[in-house]
Symmetry: C2
Subunit: 156 residues, 2 copies
DNA sequence: TTTTATCAGTTTAGGTATAAACTGATAAGG
DNA sequence: CCTTATCAGTTTATACCTAAACTGATAAAA
């Protein structure tokens, strides 16, 4: 983790700005998460489960490691969430070589078809405070942040 | 929760965009949270505890309800986090009328003075993929989102 | 004064997340 | 062939967070 020593005419201010950014981000994230969870309750889903459903649904087949990497969470976390979803009959895990291959069951597919459009619509309502242009800007900024941060990070 | 019915020439796309935004946001948030937790471990703090420390440190005195509102979390959550921090001797809770007034202990103040500058610097490094201008843009977009969403929401 | 509302904070049950230690199977080197 | 790495996934302990039910005290209404 480097830091840029030639910057700093007013680097104190930049630090304050970053702290503020973090606060704003986590407040908004918390709020969104809570509302999404509430919305998804109609289908008996949580946000974590919805995320998994979408990833498997669109990238099937997928191993647990790949899934964890896509969602930026630990593999230990995946074990837990997938365990619950398997019990509920939404996904299958099949041992193959040394990995487990994930796929949706029929029930999971139905769930996917049904819930994704509703959740898309709901998410749209969460971001309607921004114009389409602003939404694209936001996406762009987040993409840049991700790129910066992906150098030399491996999640264990 | 309204939605804007007169929009939609290409509202399908906007919905896709929103889902993408959500994914990006939560990936970045997860990653940041994990790194911040790792960084704060040097002081034996978690991010949740750091947030509380900052809020009490800068807005002292404060009730639990006010704190929960500032952090956009539930009061039940506050009870837990504050309980742990009280045990560790960083904060005090004093019953007053029907509320509990929060303040930092001496130990808590020392912690605050020591950790805040380091964490500011660390957060700056997390956002260094963006120019100062872009960081302000991001802050601005997050502010707009917050405003939209604050209409008619009370957290219980 | 007694009853009823209200309201801050607590408790409980359950899902989510991490880090760190562990398991068991494949693969690589001796 | 046997030993040692490696690597996907699991387990365990701990913290976070929520929703929902509960407690106990103040305040308002009867």
């Amino acid at each position: 983790m480097f830091h840029n020593d030639k910057s700093s005419p007013s680097s104190k201010q930049e630090e304050r700005l970053s702290l503020l950014l973090w606060f704003r981000l986590s407040r908004f994230y918390n709020q969104s998460l809570r509302r999404s969870n509430f919305h998804l309750k109609k289908w008996g889903l949580t946000v974590a489960q919805f995320d998994v459903l979408v990833q498997i649904g669109t990238h099937q087949p997928l191993t647990q490691k790949e899934l964890a990497a896509k969602l930026f969470v630990t593999k230990g976390n995946m074990t837990q969430v997938l365990g619950r979803m398997e019990e509920l009959g939404w996904i299958k895990r099949e041992q193959e070589w040394k990995t487990k291959v994930l796929s949706l069951t029929n029930l999971g597919k139905e769930m996917y078809e049904d819930v994704v459009p509703h959740q898309e619509q709901f998410q749209a309502s969460q971001f309607q405070g921004l114009t389409k242009e602003e939404q694209k800007q936001l996406l762009d900024l987040l993409r840049k942040l991700q790129h910066q941060n992906n150098n030399a990070e491996e999640l264990e």
